[in-house]
Symmetry: D2
Subunit: 268 residues, 4 copies
């Protein structure tokens, strides 16, 4: 069935024949394997160009920052899934990745979109503080939450934020979006009526957008990073299974609020 | 509900409090962000120790080698899924990862298990050629296919194989499993009755097992690598959608072999 | 880690002890197995009450209407995934379900929300035609597309629509939303400037909302229905594998638009 | 890329043109919508023929029996995923389905395969008790676990088993596999050295195989059934979110067994 107008598949990422796999104009076996790191390769696949050393350092730092945070919900979902279906590691990784949604890990992308809106106003001549305030107030007026600030566990500014900003400074990449993220942080009390600090999901686009990373691909960063963490957890699950222990603990205090049939619990 | 005996979740990967995220004994913000690459971090998460430079080089090379091979089935599945559900990039990545199964990308892990069996015999004193032949014949006798050899497109030895072996040699990591993989390649004609060459799914465990990578986590390598390629394809899909064009092309020559109701196709 | 305020899991769907599984106040083994159909059970699980015969007839009809439409993109994704990972049928079903997104099958839910908005205005005293026009124009003004109208293949009103409306009339369920859907169909030319007819994704909420089905669960209908179709396709795939044939066909006319490395294609 | 030999996609399930959707030889809009139940439609999609009333009753009963069992691991995984990604219900359903693996819900299919092996011996003239014992002992000798017997919560024979057997008796479908399942139950103490009773995963194939349901599609039954239960839980999650509460509870007694960096937990 024909859906939409395009009927011929086009791609600019990769083609191959019997002898050569060409990726973004390079010969995979001659030019890339052993010559570039996996993170440089990811940047090349995505953007079509090789990153500078500074850009690669920033991308590495963000992937390291977000790869792992213990037994968070997506890790629990993956370990429970692996306990039930140990033959299919790919299924357990997929279950974990499906938790990279708008509430938990997707805020990197949303924050990047907010910073880009602020940046557009700055490029049009607005002062960064005023631009941040204006954009954030318009987001609130439209009923949208402000992404990138506050954390259930880290009440002060998350230490990962300063570490990422330090990497960006050392790397010499563009710090424009770092300034925007900090202007937005300063405006938070006026916008939300409480003082929330930059979190790692705000810091990631703040440094990545200055490293040439496309805003529409930002969600790929937590997805790729968490995949590494998930694989480590699933390997640990093989040796020390806790998937079912997690689900047992989760419901120990479960309250059933529905009705019960007559004689529930009696021996038949 | 209690399933199994363990009731207390245990992990040795990560814990955190308000000030610090501890990963494998390191302070994430002080010791890891900006200090280690994403691939070193992945190795650390998985094994609990930091890789040597050579081990990291080998792991990087394998991830680069397997990340991308054009519009393969898993990429098609992901792009079709993204075309249908553009709000949920994580769902499209998950759909792609679910294709890392026993037939297509899972053979890295299976080949690693075969090489480990051969290695156990070599450690017990067998010659590598004899050990390879014996293990492969026992796999065939049990009805199992031999993983890591042959490719639908690359009839000669896949160029990625030599590139990976070159990286391992330069890196100075253990080449024991490379020798095993080549002994198995030499035995293929006697075992299968045809001459299949080492493919990239065989080369990956051949170099990774010598770099201290655990055999049970081998499936994580194609999964992590392909996640990078999938994200690149989904970013391209945003700008140049082909998901529905792929599905249109796929069924242009579709043959319907079922029955038809009376009057099928007539205007009602 | 504590995310949000709730810490005690509560549910009203099901609890169990050694002797009894209680579902929505019924004893599963005594009151439900063999006493109710699967579709009645689904309605009970979802709403907490047993549907009337008419409500069950309408829900059955919508599930039948949307379960299967041939080798659509989500079926292709599932069959490709199963070809690559034949050991994990659940992974292939999951890959197919992930294509029930906002563009393809999710429009049932969105159409239901639009009809509910129109209904709220009608309950406040507006005429149905005026209410439909007003809501649709406000959706367009907000940049939202109008769900439930038009189909790439069925240019006239999809025959499934009339069949579903006929079932609702025979079942005696509330036809209020059918009237709303038809009012919206009549308003389409003024709103969109072209004449699109009701499609099955519009007809499903039109009949289901009148059968007591909750608007927020509407997306569950295509998901459950397509799961049945996907399982049939995966069973066919076991006997007659076409997953890889689909992916081969899909790229036969593929155009590579990227650069090529020097000497691409030459024998090394 | 061409993988395998088949290049032309073939299917016998469904085709369509502008006016008609043909499913298994029927006109969807004229012959199926409003004429058959969803469960009959599922049987038709799968097998190509309409079930008898008895066969449909048995399939309904199995789907009702396995649809829901409270906050089991797959439901927890789905609710956690939905809490993190509330925009994508299909992703949360997929995460739940991915837990229909070999350990938890896949045993219906495995038990069906075991019963089919026993049945083959009976058809060759063996007594059912001897055939059951022989097959089960050969499975144990090959290191396979015996599927369909024992339950973590229900120590006596699960009440769902008797209910399903009663439905099959009333339905008049073939009881051959019920007899096989009971012969296997009687042999369990000799095979495993302990007395495990038939569970619902054993009873499902016992009644379904006698109702003409294909053994290779058995895994589809828990998958389809659980999809209904998952949708009910996700609808409840919208109104009463517990996804994060479940993950909070799950780790309250978490033990971190790894190393800690110097000064962990101190205010910086």
């Amino acid at each position: 069935m024909k859906i939409g107008k395009a009927t011929v598949p086009r791609t600019a990422i990769c083609t191959s024949n019997e002898h050569t796999i060409a990726i973004r104009g390079r010969d995979l076996s001659k030019d890339l394997i052993g010559k570039v790191s996996f993170v440089e390769h990811f940047y090349l696949l995505l953007t079509g160009r090789m990153p500078s050393a500074g850009e690669a350092a920033v991308l590495n730092a963000t992937l390291v920052a977000i790869a792992e945070h213990g037994l968070v919900p997506s890790v629990q979902a993956a370990r429970m899934t692996f306990a039930a279906a140990p033959d299919a590691m790919q299924g357990a990784v997929a279950a974990g990745i499906l938790g990279c949604g708008s509430v938990v890990l997707g805020s990197s992308e949303t924050a990047g979109r907010m910073y880009s809106e602020i940046d557009a106003k700055v490029r049009d001549g607005a002062a960064v503080d005023a631009a941040a305030l204006e954009v954030m107030q318009s987001w609130r007026a439209a009923g949208r939450s402000i992404p990138g600030y506050g954390h259930p566990q880290h009440k002060e500014r998350d230490a990962r934020v300063s570490a990422l900003f330090g990497v960006a400074r050392d790397a010499g990449t563009d710090l424009r979006f770092v300034a925007i993220a900090e202007a937005a942080e300063a405006a938070i009390p006026r916008v939300l009526g409480k003082d929330l600090k930059l979190n790692v999901s705000g810091a990631i686009p703040a440094v990545l957008l200055g490293a040439g990373f496309p805003v529409q691909a930002l969600k790929g960063v937590p997805i790729l990073a968490r995949t590494a963490g998930l694989i480590a957890h699933l390997f640990e699950e093989i040796g020390q299974p806790i998937g079912f222990a997690l689900s047992y603990q989760a419901t120990r205090e479960m309250v059933y609020e529905g009705e019960l049939p007559p004689g529930f619990g009696a021996h038949p």
